[in-house]
């Protein structure tokens, strides 16, 4: 075994659990959260799963079911989920010297050498997170990240484990790990699972027994690593510092199809504004990027997908420059007569803003622009995102992303704080009930 001990902690039905913290009346109702533009279900409580609501189910297909069964439906509230995630990671840092934030609801903790009774330690993490934030979690423990991830999945699926599964414990590992289907393994997609099945390998136990060199032949170095990690050999260490970003994207579906070039340019300018903010926030500059747009894959309409690359003369994170480049690429990509459902900007090459090669000319303008961007960011930090925007990004934004059933930004906005009743029946005024199923 690797000598290391990792714990993977993740939130159960995380987005739905965040909604429930501030609206306890939802605790016994099925809850789902929809993707951007209220497109499809991206988070479901067990009660909602039991009603047959599948991951990714388009909302228009389940709208009637939700109404009939009293399912509470919410638009994504990323301000809330992001804040709850930050709080959970704050807590993890009290239990482990190093934490890798793997996604908004999953973190790896390095708990090597910390606790003799790891299951009890896992329970203590769960209970602390549950009490402090209200979010239920599961904890998977293992000598490698792959085994910790599998243990976490097992903790979710086996109620008797009470939310903690420890694969550093040989008894628990040998009883529970071998029969898991390979398709449930981290990093094994449909194609890989098929390939393994063709070679007679259907369970994690069989894969673990495979010769790593054969795994390499079959599934490249990724497969070899998987086999080694299943055997407790460390291949993937904790990445406590997030790797430098190599790319960045802002892509969004429209709330209604866009049919005019003016509106498309408005949308692209808005995305360019956002990507400029992101670049400056991370101290990066764009070297190369592309703009794309396409029609809806669901609607019975002619399909179109267009894209066009752009590259500034020198790497930039200036919003105005990005708007100029991206809208020009958008105009070139545009084709009349289609109903566009989505567009986006993808930056494919980034450099640290401090390392940008400076041209000889235009230094004064660049300094002016840089000061303007600093001021723009400061205003938006102080007065809230989108307080000050370039007019090119549009003011009405009829195409803007829809969040019609979003709950309050309970934990991050002074104006959207949850309301606690201080009524005792002797007064008649009652607080407004929280929003229910539309």
């Amino acid at each position: 075994m690797s000598g290391k001990v990792f714990a993977l902690v993740d939130g159960n039905s995380f987005y739905c659990s965040c909604e429930r913290v501030f609206q306890p009346e939802l605790s016994r109702r099925p809850v789902i959260v929809l993707s951007n533009n209220d497109g499809c279900a991206v988070a479901r409580t067990p009660e909602a799963k039991a009603l047959g609501i599948k991951m990714g189910a388009p909302f228009f297909q389940i709208r009637d079911l939700c109404k009939r069964e009293g399912v509470a439906v919410f638009s994504s509230n990323y301000a809330l989920y992001g804040d709850m995630s930050r709080r959970m990671n704050d807590i993890y840092h009290r239990f482990a010297p190093e934490v890798e934030v793997y996604s908004i609801d999953e973190s790896f903790l390095d708990i090597t050498g910390i606790a003799a009774d790891r299951t009890a330690y896992g329970q203590e993490i769960r209970q602390t997170v549950r009490q402090w934030t209200g979010i239920p979690t599961c904890v998977g423990i293992g000598p490698t990240k792959t085994l910790a991830k599998l243990a976490n999945r097992t903790a979710k699926n086996v109620p008797a484990l009470k939310g903690v599964c420890d694969f550093t414990n040989a008894d628990q590992r040998e009883a529970l790990l071998p029969p898991i289907p390979v398709g449930d393994l981290w990093g094994v997609g449909k194609a890989t699972a098929e390939k393994l099945k063709a070679n007679g390998i259907e369970t994690v136990g069989q894969l673990r027994a495979m010769n790593p060199r054969h795994a390499r032949q079959l599934l490249t170095v990724v497969g070899e690593r998987m086999v080694l990690e299943l055997n407790g050999v460390l291949c993937l260490d904790l990445e406590a510092a997030p790797p430098t970003r190599k790319g960045m994207a802002v892509t969004r579906g429209f709330s209604r199809p866009i049919t005019t070039l003016d509106e498309m340019c408005e949308a692209i300018a808005a995305y360019a504004t956002r990507i400029g903010e992101k670049l400056r926030q991370h101290g990066l500059a764009a070297v190369h990027g592309q703009v794309f747009m396409h029609s809806s894959p669901f609607a019975r309409e002619p399909w179109i997908h267009r894209s066009r690359a752009f590259a500034p003369i020198e790497a930039t994170n200036d919003t105005h420059e990005l708007i100029r480049l991206a809208t020009r690429a958008g105009r070139e990509a545009w084709k009349d007569g289609y109903r566009y459902a989505k567009a986006g900007i993808i930056l494919t090459e980034l450099v640290a803003a401090a390392d940008v090669q400076r041209g000889l000319w235009g230094a004064a303008e660049r300094d002016h622009q840089q000061k303007l961007m600093t001021a723009l960011d400061a205003v938006n930090r102080r007065y809230g995102r989108g307080s000050l925007v370039p007019a090119a990004a549009g003011l009405k934004r009829g195409w803007g992303t829809r969040f019609e059933m979003r709950s309050g930004r309970f934990s991050t906005s002074w104006g959207e704080m949850p309301i606690v009743s201080g009524h005792d029946g002797s007064d008649t005024q009652r607080p407004q009930p929280a929003r229910r199923t539309p």
């Binding site: 605790s27 709080r87 840092h93 934030v101 050498g113 606790a115 003799a116 201080g422 005792d424 007064d427």
Partner: protein, 185 residues
């Protein structure tokens, strides 16, 4: 989010005790760790300082201008600033704000429209004001515990609720501060 950890390598000859704590530096938490022991009795033995808010609003108690002439006699006595966030938010990941609607708690100094600071990490004590969740409704209550924990109205004529996970009567968090504006402006 993201990495804000700065590892300190164990000194040779570090104490044979496992200590893990967070220091505070420029609003960032810095976990410090010695890994000389393999087992630990219980993490609750460890004492942690929570990370400090990075969006605090310091108030200057006093301060002296730099003067070209005689140095200020107060210079040696200048205190740190008062950081309100640090006082109001003792445990950041567990602290939430709720706005109050109604005057049932007026005797405890909580008025309609006030904001209460609520700490979920605290266990309530007898007589404390808490945010309670009673069958899905969130309300301010007095926590009473004389053997059997109950959630009571400030109005003594109203019957109290017995705390019970099964009946969906729970404490959401303990009220630690009330923010009240005495003047309308």
């Amino acid at each position: 989010m993201g990495a804000r950890s700065l590892r300190h390598k164990p000194r040779s000859g570090a104490p044979a005790a496992h200590s893990l704590f967070e220091g505070v530096l420029d609003g960032k938490s810095v976990p410090v760790m010695f890994r000389n022991m393999t087992a630990l009795p219980s993490p609750s033995v460890l004492h942690f300082l929570g990370p400090v808010s990075s969006y605090s609003m310091p108030l200057h108690l006093m301060g002296t201008r730099i003067c070209a002439g005689f140095p200020s006699p107060a210079d040696d006595f200048i205190d740190d600033e008062i950081d309100l966030t640090r006082i109001l938010v003792a445990n950041r990941p567990a602290t939430f704000l709720w706005r109050v609607s109604g005057n049932s708690m007026i005797e405890t100094g909580i008025h309609d429209g006030d904001v209460v600071v609520v700490d979920r990490s605290m266990n309530p004590r007898h007589g404390e004001v808490v945010v309670a969740s009673i069958r899905g409704e969130v309300s301010l209550k007095l926590y009473q515990n004389d053997g059997k924990p109950r959630l009571a109205f400030a109005n003594k004529d109203m019957p109290a609720f017995a705390v019970s996970e099964e009946d969906d009567v729970t404490v959401w968090g303990v009220v630690t501060w009330t923010l009240h504006k005495p003047n309308k402006r």
